[in-house]
């Protein structure tokens, strides 16, 4: 697992296979190599994986089940009008596919996920199921104190469970290695924005998302390897429009959908796929009280997101800044069907984009989608309208 597949193409293929594999082979292998050590899954969007890591555990980012799972039980438990990832996650639990996890974390992102956490708790006997309250009020200094206490509660539970104490040093080391991971991803994002013909978006997506299932140190090697090899690649610029993709921060789109968006004429220059992996705009400090640093960073150093509320700097303003910063021509909303936070945000995003005269295309997806003809046509029409304007 520690060796990068020979050549970039194979790495990307290996990553795309990994993110579809519901047997979690890398997690199973890691546990075999670390007898007695625990794996903790976390539901999107963000979790303080540093704490899990510092407790000697493997954090695993859960991302639903794509189109690889037929829902037999979960549909009846969650009914209509609920997004797919909530159902597929429960289906993974009910069909024993998450047995390799010793616990699962959820957080305060939306009402569906909130209820899911406790439905999972009832149906996942013997496992540690935890809910983190990530504050919605960064304006108040009280939220800094509160979030640190919430992280300490988690740390204590994990320490008791795994029998490993996460001291200051271990936590700071974990923060450093995660900082490195986020910095590498930022560099890859910058590389793609500058050379979209050399790094395709589905490739970056797969490479990034694969990090959910492997130790962060290994992921760092993969990312650094890719960064080293990419400039030597060759590719020809096409007639394409530069777009920012917004809305897929939680449930993840099928990789083919991203492929098709590119084929249909979009260079994706920024996106919010697997957003939890790039949660911070800059490094978390590695000196001082690590728990407080993690908490402060969540409140003051996070990227904007539909599931985090910070009215000091509204996300609709930040979307416009993002478009300008990466010199994009348009925004494509890739919203998970029934994702209420994304639906709500669309209203103010739309108002703001129209005021700034930035064109946008609203699209909806489900992780389990496998035919994309209509999607392709819509993107092509949109691209043409901009290219031949």
């Amino acid at each position: 697992m520690n060796t990068l597949a020979a050549g970039l193409e194979q790495t990307f293929d290996q990553c795309s296979a990994l993110i579809r594999d519901l047997e979690f082979p890398t997690v199973v292998r890691w546990k075999a190599e670390h007898p007695g050590a625990k794996a903790i899954g976390y539901f999107p969007v963000y979790a303080p994986t540093e704490i899990i890591h510092a407790c000697g555990m493997l954090p695993v980012g859960l991302n639903g089940a794509g189109d690889a799972l037929d829902l037999q039980y979960a549909d009846a438990r969650f009914g209509s009008f609920i997004c797919s990832i909530v159902k597929t996650t429960l289906e993974l639990v009910l069909t024993n596919r998450l047995e390799c996890m010793d616990g699962v974390l959820f957080s305060s992102i939306c009402d569906s996920a909130r209820n899911l956490a406790f439905v999972v708790k009832r149906n996942f006997p013997g496992k540690y199921v935890e809910f983190l309250h990530l504050p919605h009020n960064p304006n108040s200094t009280a939220s800094h104190v509160f979030l640190a206490s919430e992280y300490r509660r988690l740390t204590q539970h994990l320490e008791e469970m795994g029998g490993v104490r996460a001291g200051e040093e271990a936590l700071n080391r974990s923060i450093a290695v995660h900082n490195e991971n986020r910095a590498l991803l930022r560099r890859l994002y910058a590389f793609r924005a500058a050379h979209p013909e050399l790094l395709r978006s589905w490739e970056l997506y797969a490479l990034q998302r694969a990090g959910n299932f492997i130790p962060v140190e290994t992921h760092n090697e993969w990312l650094a390897g890719a960064l080293a090899e990419l400039p030597a690649r060759s590719g020809k610029r096409r007639d394409a429009i530069r777009v920012v993709v917004e809305g897929a921060f939680c449930e993840q789109p099928p990789i083919d959908l991203i492929r098709i968006m590119e084929e249909a004429g979009c260079y994706v220059v920024d996106d919010d796929f697997v957003l939890g992996r790039r949660w911070f705009t800059s490094d978390i400090p590695v000196d001082g009280d690590p728990i407080q640093n993690l908490a402060d960073s969540y409140l003051d150093r996070s990227v904007y997101s539909s599931v985090r509320h910070d009215f000091r700097n509204p996300r609709h303003k930040q979307l416009i800044e993002k478009v300008r910063r990466c010199n994009a021509q348009a925004v494509v909303f890739l919203t998970a069907k029934f994702c209420e936070p994304a639906y709500f945000d669309y209203v103010l995003f739309k108002r703001e984009l129209e005021a700034a005269q930035i064109p946008h295309l609203p699209l909806e997806f489900e992780e389990k989608a496998f035919t994309f003809d209509r999607f392709r046509t819509e993107v092509e029409t949109f691209v043409e309208s901009l290219l031949f304007d």
Binding site: D75, A76, R77, F78, G79, S80, F81, I82, V86, G103, S108, C110, D111, S112, R114, N115, L116, A117, F118, V119, K121, R122, N123, P125, G126, K127, Y128, V129, E130, F131, H133, P135, H136, N137, N139, S140, A142, S143, V145, F146, S149, E150, R153, H157, L158, E160, H309, F311, P314, F338, E340, P341, Y343, F344, D345, Y346, V347, L348, K350, R351
Partner: protein, 444 residues
């Protein structure tokens, strides 16, 4: 339904309730005209109306406005207006009706509504609240105050949870001082909290009356009637007076052995909000079967008092924080809701559970299939699952709901007996903490 089958539900308390709510709208109209008293909008769930009362601020509850629009069959127009702005078909229709009505100048009574001096987002469980008030603040150009209440993810709130909420309540006081240009009067706050505790005691006694057979009132439909005064007037002497009258009326009915209609044939627990656009139709469907709700979760949105919690006037800040954190159904976790319903079924002697899935509200509805699984398979409680919406009239299929209801009640045969929820079969379902401590009572 024929005229003969139409039930009449009105008692004196319904009339009093109407007068109080009309008066509230009158004062809102006045405030819109003169700016006095100042108004603050906040949300129903686990609200902190006591602080507003201490400042003589008029509360605006957008949810109450939205439900009034729906009951009066006026919700579709603002919903459509909001969808034109970009709201999705699947966004909570309360928000759409409210925003649409704000922008089109529609109000439930035709009177004016004031622009709030503050949009106070008491985030108590519902994530939609945050988006809703962010939008209210944007569209009405009013300042937003986020009061972040940690979700009840443990059996009881921790000390850190309470400290966090109390600190924000104190910050809110500063904000209210700024708005009203008045100094905070701690004694008045205590007085408001004392009124609340009295109302809660009365309300709780009313709710315990429905343990009698027959129940003197319907603990879903009639309880909803009482919810308006409960939110608007809880911390005010008018609220105390109202609930005294309500208790008296229901006690008298209980003494006479009278129910809300004819004879009581079925005793039910109802989970989930009502379909407001078809409130009367829905009620009649139950009345036709002599089915009376003896308890409901929706009536505990604002507060859950029948299990003993009261605001403590001697520790008003902590009391308000505890109420927001732990004593309302919306901030309690999903398994705690199962436990609440299980207690209703057992202690209120119900024969069945109605789960009403409303499309708008994921807070209530996401996972209700699992709830049904728990009650039917693990506890052996007959359960009926219905689907419609709280606000949007487009999602109510009268024939389908009626058929399902008929089939459900018919399946009981002629002599429905109260069920004792049988003990759940599977042990150790909730490890709570890794060491297995703090198991949920639900499964004991």
């Amino acid at each position: 339904m024929s005229e003969a089958e139409k039930a009449e539900y009105r008692g004196q308390v319904h009339q009093l309730q109407k007068e109080l709510m009309v008066d509230w709208y009158r004062r809102l109209d006045e405030s819109a005209g003169t700016g006095s008293p100042p108004a603050v909008s906040l949300l129903v769930s686990g609200n902190c109306v006591e602080l507003l009362e201490a400042f003589d601020i008029l509360p605006i509850y957008p949810e109450v406005n939205a439900l009034q629009l729906a009951i009066r069959h006026q919700s579709l127009e603002p919903i459509l207006a909001a969808e034109e702005l970009g709201y999705a078909a699947d966004n909570c229709a309360y928000v759409k009706a409210d925003i649409g009505a704000l922008l089109k100048g529609i109000t439930p009574t035709g009177g004016r509504l004031p622009i709030p001096a503050l949009a106070l987002c008491n985030f108590v469980g519902c994530n939609t609240y945050v988006k809703w008030f962010e939008h209210v603040s944007e569209f009405q150009k009013v300042p937003l105050f986020m009061l972040d209440v940690p979700f009840l993810r443990t059996d009881e709130p921790s000390k850190d949870d309470i400290v966090y909420v109390v600190r924000q309540l104190r910050e809110l006081v500063t904000e209210l001082e700024r708005i009203t240009k008045r100094k905070f009067d701690y004694d008045r706050f205590k007085e408001a909290v004392r009124n609340s505790s009295q109302v809660e005691e009365l309300w709780s006694r009313i709710k315990h009356l429905s343990r009698k057979t027959p129940s003197p009132f319907d603990a879903f439909f009639d309880a909803i009637t009482l919810m308006g005064p409960l939110y608007v007037y809880r911390a005010n002497p008018a609220g105390v007076k109202f609930f005294q009258a309500a208790l008296e009326e229901f006690e008298q009915k209980a003494a006479r052995g009278e129910g809300p209609f004819g004879s009581e044939k079925f005793r039910l627990v109802i989970e989930g909000p009502p379909p407001y656009p078809f409130f009367r139709v829905f009620r009649d469907m139950f009345a036709k079967w002599g089915a009376c709700a003896v308890a409901s979760t929706y009536s505990t949105v604002g507060g859950l008092w029948e299990f003993g919690f009261r605001h403590d006037p001697e520790n008003p800040f902590e009391a308000v924080a505890m109420h927001m954190l732990a004593h309302n159904v919306t901030n309690r976790n999903y398994l705690q809701r199962y436990e609440q319903i299980r207690r209703y079924v057992e202690e209120w002697n119900a024969q069945g559970l109605i789960i009403h899935f409303v499309k708008s509200c994921r807070l209530f509805s996401a996972g209700q299939g699992d709830m049904r699984d728990y009650f039917t398979k693990e506890l052996g409680v007959p359960t009926l699952y219905l689907e419609s919406d709280i606000e949007d009239p487009r999602y109510f299929s009268e024939a389908q709901i009626k058929n399902r209801m008929d089939a459900f009640f018919e399946s009981f045969g002629h002599t429905p007996a109260p069920v004792r929820a049988r003990a759940a079969g599977r042990p150790g379902v909730d490890p709570g903490r890794p060491d297995g401590s703090s198991r949920l009572r639900i499964l004991e």
